[in-house]
């Protein structure tokens, strides 16, 4: 079961089954102690980190960099999808995929937050021209 962990040196927050061996922020070893979700939310919420479409686009480009996939080169498609992703965050709370529908089971619906774990989906896995369901991410060609 996932829990919240706080670095006792720099207040870095980690959410996972176990804490990192080394804090990625301050590099101190064995620095994490379990904390409550309330405390973790207060600490992480103390820094304002608003993300607009441009920021998100940069974030997913960085995510794709060095991976075997890339952002779709069809700019119109990407714009449409980003519009949907941000409308979904505004209207439904998280950056849900615009090409799927939430079930209202929160744990289940976390699988629809963009970028999702599309590499295991049948539309991507083992396909030379694989892509995520909505087509935001496409498998990188050898020469790209």
């Amino acid at each position: 079961m996932k829990k919240f962990w706080r670095c006792h040196v720099c207040n870095d927050i980690h959410y996972g089954v176990k804490p990192p061996e080394v804090c990625p922020t301050c590099s101190v070893q064995k620095a994490y102690v379990e904390t409550s979700s309330e405390e973790a939310q207060k600490i992480s919420g103390s820094t304002t980190s608003l993300m607009n479409k441009v920021d998100f686009r940069q974030a997913i480009e960085l995510f794709a960099e060095g991976n075997e996939f890339q952002i779709n080169s069809d700019q119109e498609r990407v714009e449409t999808l980003l519009e949907g992703i941000f409308n979904n965050e505004r209207n439904h709370g998280l950056k849900y995929c615009p090409c799927r529908m939430i079930t209202k089971n929160f744990e289940e619906d976390l699988k629809l937050v963009c970028p999702c774990n599309f590499r295991i989906h049948e539309t991507y896995a083992d396909k030379e021209d694989g892509e995520c369901w909505c087509g935001l991410f496409v498998r990188r060609k050898n020469n790209e």
């Binding site: 498609r77 449409t80 999808l81 519009e83 949907g84 992703i85 409308n87 979904n88 209207n91 439904h92 615009p98 090409c99 799927r100 529908m101 939430i102 079930t103 209202k104 629809l112 989906h121 049948e122 539309t123 369901w133 909505c134 087509g135």
Partner: protein, 92 residues
Amino acid sequence: MSRLIMFHARECPHCIAMMPHVDRLEKEIGVKIDRLEVWHNEKNADLMRSYRDIIEPKCGGQLRTPTFMNTETDAIICGEVEYEKLKDWATK
């Protein structure tokens, strides 16, 4: 009585791509396909969710858009398909 439904989303490129096929189908064979937008209409979203057990096994275990559903036969199509395949779905 059978009802033909297209569950779609406003910002879903697959749905946008399928709209001309739906227009053509309605014009050519005179069927009516109810186009129900699901991300901006909660009632439509609830209706789509009410068909989870029928849709998900045929759509990669998820509620994907577009989903074409015949409420009488439970025939389902997910995603972008050729016009002829859509026509088969609508006429069977």
